[in-house]
Symmetry: C2
Subunit: 511 residues, 2 copies
């Protein structure tokens, strides 16, 4: 058994089921080893950002790492943007990065570069293997580092010769450590603060967005002054019918500050202290009032149990039956509200919504509180080009569920190659492509920066007109059937039809 | 004047004409400043790898840097692969990378990351500006570092607040230092070695691939035992009618070693000592015989003058009139030879050929020795996805010349978004898209690694079938007209027609 096979057998033994791969010459032994270890499914992405974004989506839904297989520094670099999102989502991901043969590295051949320097900014752990015999144990450590709560990205650099040379067998990977219990004293302290608070806010993030945590938060809300918010960009959020109606913390800092300003207590449930996404002159970075933030549970702690304990400490009753109405049907030309309404009305039970719809996606959140139960994955790190790849990973993680890639056009153009993997793997992904033919957020940001009337060059850098992307043709190019939709009525017909079809579909929503 | 405008005015004053941009919120002051400094043309790329590859192509043809404008760490990361190629081509490029406001950095907002760690592996010089007043002088230094012979990549990290805050005016950028003359003693030494050599080889690279250098090499060849080769992946190579018929050093190390084995003298004319692209077990990294390599001129030296001095030292006569025949027309189904023959026969005078055709491109080289004069740009760093972006930059650098993007399908899929910029800017680019629906080089590498019959998973990772990309649809999606071509006869008609049209065209060559 060579190093590559010992590594893949170790992965398979640890329950790793999939590798999103875009290999090159320095990964040939690993490519060949997939046929010896069919338990690990190799899924080809035709661009590395597809692979890393898919691993992020897969890991968010399963809590287990997917592998990626990437080619040297430049191939890895193409995957960095979506690893940045995975890092912010604290998704377990294990990158396998092939490198030049160890004895060839010093000759600085054309494709040689400093891979570790590229990997560090997005990785919890970076390691370069030192021999073929180490590959199995290095992979075991990579898995361990990625699955240790709260989860993260491991990057393992694998010289080609070590993949090919003989190794001992696979090693057994220890189960990851459990999250630790939150100490009783902290629960008691926060219960006391909650009782005394004039106005409290519970900010749910990370693992606190599952059903159990939200129901506990709903109980706390019913028994105290507390409101409940979801962090602005949740990694994996259970939503819809029967759950408390939780809104997101607004994106723009002045709006977020307005929501948080009345609060003398902000309880962080696996959420970070909220800070502005960008710094704007004259506005503070921190969004919550000074001294208001208190941690209930961090990423290494059992947040749902802590929320339940906090509810119990407040003698909170069982949550009331919750019922949110669906909005009435929309009509006429498509706009973000009409799209949000129609998507909310058409969502099938158990759908996974990957939201990279940016400015076109905002109304959906309020519209969908009464939709059937669904899971929403957001753009955690702000590195655009996440949606379609993440949908690939979601669909592979959960083939029993429909995936809606709710997608802005500007962002989609970074990684539209994901459509090809949807076609190849016959994934049940419906891409709702919101085509406003602009980087709308940048037009808004120009106005916020006081540039009310941008000149020709500034306009050209924020517009995607001239020419407009023909999304139906683009999708066809990648093997995905598509349809152009211009009104809410058309969408109300086309969306259920697309959701009923097996395999991928794209609807170009012309705004 | 704010920092952004002082920076752009400094660039304009230094003769910088173009910025390939994909900005975001942290670059808004720079975006706005383009309208105050119209001398710098802002060209939008809808993916950062398009911007960096275009800057590479532009810099190779003009010898002057283009700017890129990129958004934070993840946006920069998307441009790394093509910066890796620029680094290997020693192309002058100046990256402007927006960052969080300086006072917001420590709050680790979602898009924050260690940009410098990402930039170092592809940059000669990385710097983070420290105040608005520094932006003009920092840009001047960035230009200086990128244009100092032999040229390279500068990366300047620009916090958003410094772009917006007040600054003094632009600064004057000093002209770059000239290349230095090669000492007479070195010329005399190499002339003497050449006279004594049993079999010599002159390896031309970098700046030694212009007309003047090749003619001088031709004289040396006529007056000595020397043969002449071009490095395997030249940055910018003048070719065609009237020039000595120079071949490339072969790609595979066993073939390169065979060519070099008889040589007791290898003269490096702005070329590095040749090493294998990848390390293969049992094969040495170095390709030339031990002790055979001698440097005539490095990247900071005047290589064409040195070659002429060496020819003079050998009393070499003027070069003979050189005439290479064009091949006869090809017929029947398309294969790499039929494509190479037809392209060689159809190439217009002064064309720029960007070669990322990979295995489909090899026969073109021998076929085109008698083609009209043209310039060829190759994949210097091996980071695929270079061709179409590089063609964008070439077309913007030289609007008076036709650009042929001679392109493999697998590679093109990394950065096909470049087609959109071709459409928006009405660039005279003809993309010859060689569709063999596979990563053919990896299939060859699997076979070289002894895997004669790859299994299902290995096959799936090297095949682009199921589904085949429909390149005509994909091009239409990006606004570029396309046509599918299946025979040499069709290509012989379609290619001149496409070359005669203004603006971009794509021909899908079905192999």
């Amino acid at each position: 058994m060579n190093g590559a096979e010992s590594l893949l057998r170790t992965a398979a033994g640890a329950g790793v089921e999939v590798c999103f791969a875009n290999p090159g010459t320095t990964e040939m032994p690993l490519v060949a080893a997939f046929d010896a270890v069919p338990e690990v499914r190799a899924v080809l992405g035709i661009f590395e950002g597809v692979c890393t974004g898919a691993a992020d989506g897969y890991g968010r839904l399963t809590g287990r790492p997917a592998l990626t297989l990437l080619h040297l520094g430049p191939g890895f670099a193409n995957g960095i943007a979506n690893l940045h999102n995975a890092r912010r989502a604290r998704t377990p991901v294990v990158n396998l990065i092939g490198d030049q043969a160890s004895w060839h590295l010093d000759h600085d051949a054309p494709l040689t570069s400093d891979i570790a320097s590229l990997a560090r900014p997005v990785s919890r752990w970076v390691h370069q293997s030192q021999s073929a015999r180490d590959l199995a144990s290095d992979l075991a450590e990579a898995i361990g580092r990625s699955t240790a709560p709260p989860g993260g990205v491991s990057s393992l650099i694998l010289p080609a010769d070590f993949q090919a040379e003989g190794a001992a067998g696979p090693v057994v990977v220890e189960a990851p450590a459990s999250r630790t219990a939150v100490p009783d004293a902290r629960i008691a302290d926060l219960a006391s603060r909650l009782r005394e608070a004039r106005q409290a806010m519970i900010l749910l993030g990370g693992a606190a967005l599952d059903e159990r945590s939200q129901n506990a938060a709903g109980r706390i809300m019913a028994a105290s002054s507390a409101h409940v918010l979801c962090e602005t960009f949740p990694a994996c959020w259970e939503r819809g019918s029967g759950l408390p109606g939780v809104s997101r913390l607004p994106y723009f800092p002045e709006q977020a500050r307005e929501v948080l300003a009345p609060c003398d207590l902000v309880i962080l449930a696996d959420a970070r202290e909220p800070v502005a996404f960008f710094g704007y002159a004259g506005q503070a970075s921190r969004l919550a009032p000074d001294q208001s933030c208190h941690v209930l549970a961090g990423g290494h702690e059992e947040v749902s149990a802590a929320l339940e304990a906090l509810a119990d400490a407040l003698d909170a009753p069982s949550p009331p039956a919750i019922s949110h109405a669906l909005p009435d049907p929309a009509s006429g030309a498509l706009d973000p509200l009409a799209i949000g309404v129609t998507l909310a009305r058409c969502l099938p039970e158990g759908a996974i919504v990957v939201d990279e719809a940016a400015t076109s996606g905002l109304p959906f959140y309020a519209c969908s509180l009464g939709s059937p139960r669904h899971t929403l994955l957001a753009l955690t790190g702000g590195a655009i080009g996440q949606g379609l790849p993440c949908a690939v990973g979601a669909a592979i993680a959960r083939p029993d569920r429909k995936v809606v890639a709710f997608q802005a056009d500007g962002s989609a153009l970074y990684t539209a190659q994901a459509l090809w993997t949807c076609a190849r793997e016959s994934l049940d992904v419906v891409a709702l492509l919101c085509s406003n033919r602009s980087y709308r957020i940048l037009q808004i940001e120009l106005a916020r920066a006081g540039i009310a009337e941008p000149g020709r060059q500034a306009r050209s850098l924020t517009s995607l007109e001239e020419p407009a992307i023909d999304w139906v043709s683009l999708a066809r190019g990648y093997g995905v059937p598509g349809e152009r939709v211009e009104t809410a009525e058309e969408l109300a017909k086309a969306l259920p039809r697309a959701l009923a079809e097996p395999g991928p579909q794209l609807l170009e929503l012309v705004l």
